[in-house]
Symmetry: C2
Subunit: 608 residues, 2 copies
């Protein structure tokens, strides 16, 4: 190989791995103007197989980046779950129950969207292309080091992480070496993560005895629930069905815990199996229904379920791992791609705030605190779920087996968790629940739920979530109360004065820059009579489109944000984090507590 | 000019004029694979001004072509109308009332979408580009003749309309001549239509005394309803406001009936006016509110309202005029662009059916019957509306003036008409109301209203309108009734047998070709218990996605098609025209009446 001058470059964030976690990170960073690059060792992207389920909360997240519309155009929607169990007499399976596919009270999208991973990646790739960012591939990282280790400062002019990359060149087969100096690196390079290994991060947990096969196919079948998500427990083993885009379905097939393992390594011996053997096992579970392939089988795999979480999610506040690189678990609850994308959805805005010089490096540690806790919960859930799913059904011969009632109870109980809707981040510098009582039903730590509000200037209804896009800004929601009352109007005026003053978080956190770079401010009034946007203090109406009211002229179903969120009639200020989670709440007279909330992670001004 | 060999070409349909009417026609034809071309005499498209209002029914129509999503992303929405009248004491205007912007009970999109005409044209141009069709411009037609006149036949191999076109060439300023031989020509070339004049078609009606000015601007104002549609009656004249995309608004300003007219020609003398003079007039109407331009004025015009309809809409079954070429009226109810697009939405599918060889030429005459009647109704409405709008307000000094109550009553009463939702085509070979009683609330002649139905295979809710795209196919909706009852199941089986037989319209109308080229068939059951798609006769389920049920597992608001449409429990077959209007209905045992419905315009098979 001829040696040429080695290329060197500086970059804010380098993302290693262009799967769902890496793409979510890269797209989120590129949208805010962060200098970001993304590399992948594979010469081309996945075309088939891999993950395929997008849960309700993840659809909301995609919507916050303007990407859900395309997902919904291309994806199948799973609205119904069907449960099959053995008929004691025929020994074949029969329908026990059908239920909604998702149990989550306030999901904006009450279904799972199913689409193969490659198509989901395309949505990100096209969005990134519009922002001028493409994946470099095949590009292999060969070394990574952090040369700077001053945990309390971020000097925007230094690039302490040094990564050596080998770029493959498809034309002449040669490799070009590049040294990248980055402020931050995200390792989103999958279950066998090179970044994780290079940083000596351990995976904690263990392999299970569960071995499953997966087949993507277009079926020819008389099975009546082939377009529903199915959990099938038969006397011949368990099997799951997930319907997909077009006429495709995915089968999950339970295999024995022997035979498919290589005796020496203990790994799954894929060469001993084939898609037809998998399908033969599925056929036995689905008896008396018949299933055949209408087209050649598109993709298949076989694997042993591991349930592991990385011991740490970052190194020296500079290198972060995300997605499969930090958690592996069973695929049957359709959580893998969701957990991965939500990892970097959580991390990306924090990096933006640090790179922009608003927040201290310590803010980044909340990533591990929030996402590792979630990953641990996911493994706990996965163990219970995998056991129920893989366990033998309760029959007359097997009284200790899993009953449909047990299974359904778990399915419903886990609905908040599996949908992503119920996830609640714990108290931290980013989650302060002190004044929870002022917004009784708007839970601090959870994502802001869907809610219709009405714009004052034209009485047009809006989904509140759509007013809080993932643009890396904190959203300040001022619930103004009934400003037709002179006393409330006075209180609001005083609030605006305090929030507009130099000591306010709006000024200190943004270090005196334009406050609308780091914040967006919306105001919502509750007066029953007509409210004009011009009635509100100027700080709260940077544009006529920023003022909202509780209800429009006519009754709209669900349109009562004060009632639904349980807002105290005296009003409240709500801080929604850039990722859509409620961070804290304060009554007007204690808005100083919001100053303290931001002070906890504001970059010291001596750094400026 | 050097003389070169004149180019000659054959084409199914030539569209002259690339405004909203022409683009709607061209896009609709191109989607179905018809060989279509479109030319425009202007060297480039409109960048500002012109029409800007899309009414609720037109949004539905755009959605049926897959174009509404983009419109809704770009357009402003008008949800509220505000009415201002003189305050007898201050002599300035004051708010009298606010009402919803649209009065139409079952609008799927209960608002007006406002966006400048150029952006709306772009939506069509991009869709056409994806289909491989672009506008030739500047291209001027110079002669048009029909050489064939056999009204009862269409020989697909002849091209009886001969049009001579001059193509401008921007590079060398030369002109190239082309002779186009077309099966059909659509003249969508505006109020001064060359096609109309070349065909000697008279405009019937008259000029009015009303002279109006229009200004598109970004205002700086304290007027509280600047983001609502406003009708302002002041003692200094009338004025209208339409809020638009971004911060733009359009002002309609009433001018005196003198002064602005050229004494000799009687035409509006635009050179005597300017945008600032118009704005000065508006300022007087809007007193005591203040309005200024925040940015330089983008576009303005001044015109005298004509209220005219073409005496005929076609010549020799071969040349058709559409849009402003056949009707002119006032712009204040925001109907111009809607009327134009709905003209060619009505015409395009009829041309497809004739070109494909299914329908007789006579089908095309229903275009004039339906759209000229509509245009006449529009003029009648416009006269009443313009009179109310231009009339002086009722004050103490002027007891004969227009009261707010009169105005509001008319605004509400005309809601069905102006929204486009209430339009009902009269009885004709395409509208047969004989069996209306079998679908009491699904009105034959009106567009099929929005309605949620649930797909049997996966209980996913769908908007029924979205299942009936504008793909030029007739939609056959089989309301199967409660097929859990053995007797109803038997009746349905017999219906399927009759509809699948050789004498059925499905076979005779499509001349024995694949029936799904000309028809789509959906079936909707009403059983309360679980219905599987496999329970229905094969003719009615060409794919698993074609079978629907009345309700899903859980109560969905508005989800009861049998109740909402008033479907007879014995079931019914509903024919929805390719443009989304209900054509006819028959009970199972009289499905022969549907054969007769189609026979009225089926092309004689001796022609094949």
């Amino acid at each position: 190989m001829p040696i040429s001058a080695v290329k060197e470059s500086n970059i804010d964030v380098l993302v290693i791995g262009a799967g769902p976690a890496g793409l979510m990170a890269c797209n989120a960073l590129a949208r805010t103007g962060i200098n970001v690059r993304i590399v992948d060792k594979q010469p081309s992207k996945v075309m088939a197989g891999q993950a395929d389920g997008i849960q309700p909360r993840t659809i909301e997240v995609l919507q916050s980046y303007g990407l859900a519309q395309r997902l919904l155009q291309e994806a199948n929607q799973v609205h119904t779950a069907a449960f099959y169990n053995p008929n004691p007499e025929t020994r074949g399976i029969e329908l026990t129950d059908r239920t909604p596919g998702v149990f989550a009270n306030d999901a904006r999208y009450p279904f799972e969207a199913t689409l193969h991973q490659g198509a989901i990646e395309d949505i990100f790739l096209d969005s990134m292309r519009d922002l001028g960012v493409e994946v470099s591939r095949p590009t292999v990282p060969v070394s990574i080091q952090v040369y700077d280790n001053q945990p309390q400062s971020v000097d925007a002019s230094t690039f302490p992480v040094r990564v050596v990359l080998f770029h493959g060149d498809a034309r002449n087969g040669q490799t070009e070496t590049e040294i990248v100096h980055a402020k931050f690196v995200i390792g989103a390079d999958g279950a066998h993560s090179w970044v994780r290994k290079a940083c000596d991060i351990e995976m904690e947990g263990e392999q299970t005895e569960y071995i499953w096969g997966v087949v993507d196919m277009v079926p020819e079948t008389d099975f009546p629930d082939i377009r529903n998500k199915c959990a099938i427990h038969s006397i011949n083993g368990s099997c799951g069905i997930v319907p997909r885009e077009g006429d495709k379905v995915r089968l999950y097939i339970q295999l024995g815990s022997h035979g498919e393992l290589d005796d020496t390594s203990g790994r799954v011996a894929k060469e001993l199996m084939g898609p037809n053997m998998l399908l033969d096992v599925a056929r036995k579970s689905m008896f008396p229904y018949v299933i055949d392939e209408a087209e050649p089988i598109e993709w298949w795999t076989i694997y042993r379920i591991g349930q592991r979480v990385a011991a740490q999610f970052f190194v020296k506040d500079r290198i972060f791992i995300a997605g499969d690189a930090c958690h592996t678990h069973s695929p049957k609850a359709g959580q893998g791609m969701d957990a991965s994308m939500n990892d970097t959805h959580n991390l990306a805005w924090k990096l933006v705030h640090v790179v922009k010089g608003w927040a201290d490096l310590s803010l980044l540690r909340t990533y591990e605190f929030e996402r590792r806790t979630y990953a641990q919960d996911l493994i706990i859930f996965d163990k219970q779920w995998a056991e129920l799913f893989s366990g033998r059904p309760r029959t007359d011969d097997n009284q200790g087996g899993v009953s449909h009632e047990d299974f359904l109870k778990a399915f419903k109980a886990f609905g908040g968790f599996t949908s992503g809707i119920g996830i609640c981040y714990a108290e931290s510098e980013l989650i302060n629940t002190t004044h929870q009582s002022f917004t009784k039903n708007l839970i601090i730590g959870k994502r802001l739920p869907p809610q219709i509000v009405v714009r004052a200037a034209d009485l047009r209804p809006f989904e509140l979530q759509d007013l809080l896009p993932s643009d890396a800004r904190f959203k300040v929601l001022v619930f103004a109360g009934d400003t037709i009352q002179p006393s409330q109007r006075m209180r609001l005026t005083m609030l605006a004065e305090e929030m507009g003053a130099g000591a306010s978080f709006l000024k200190t956190y943004s270090h005196g820059e334009n406050i609308f770079a780091a914040f967006d401010i919306l105001v919502v009034g509750s007066s029953k009579g007509a409210t004009r946007h011009t009635d509100f203090p100027e700080l709260f109406r940077s544009h006529w489109s920023k003022v909202f009211v509780n209800r429009g002229m006519e009754e709209l179903p669900g349109c009562d944000v004060y009632g639904n969120f349980g807002i105290n009639p005296a009003g409240a200020v709500v801080i929604v984090r850039p990722d859509g989670y409620v961070g804290t709440v304060a009554p007007f007279e204690m808005v100083g507590d919001i100053n303290r909330y931001f002070a906890a992670f504001t970059r010291p001004s001596t750094d400026v």
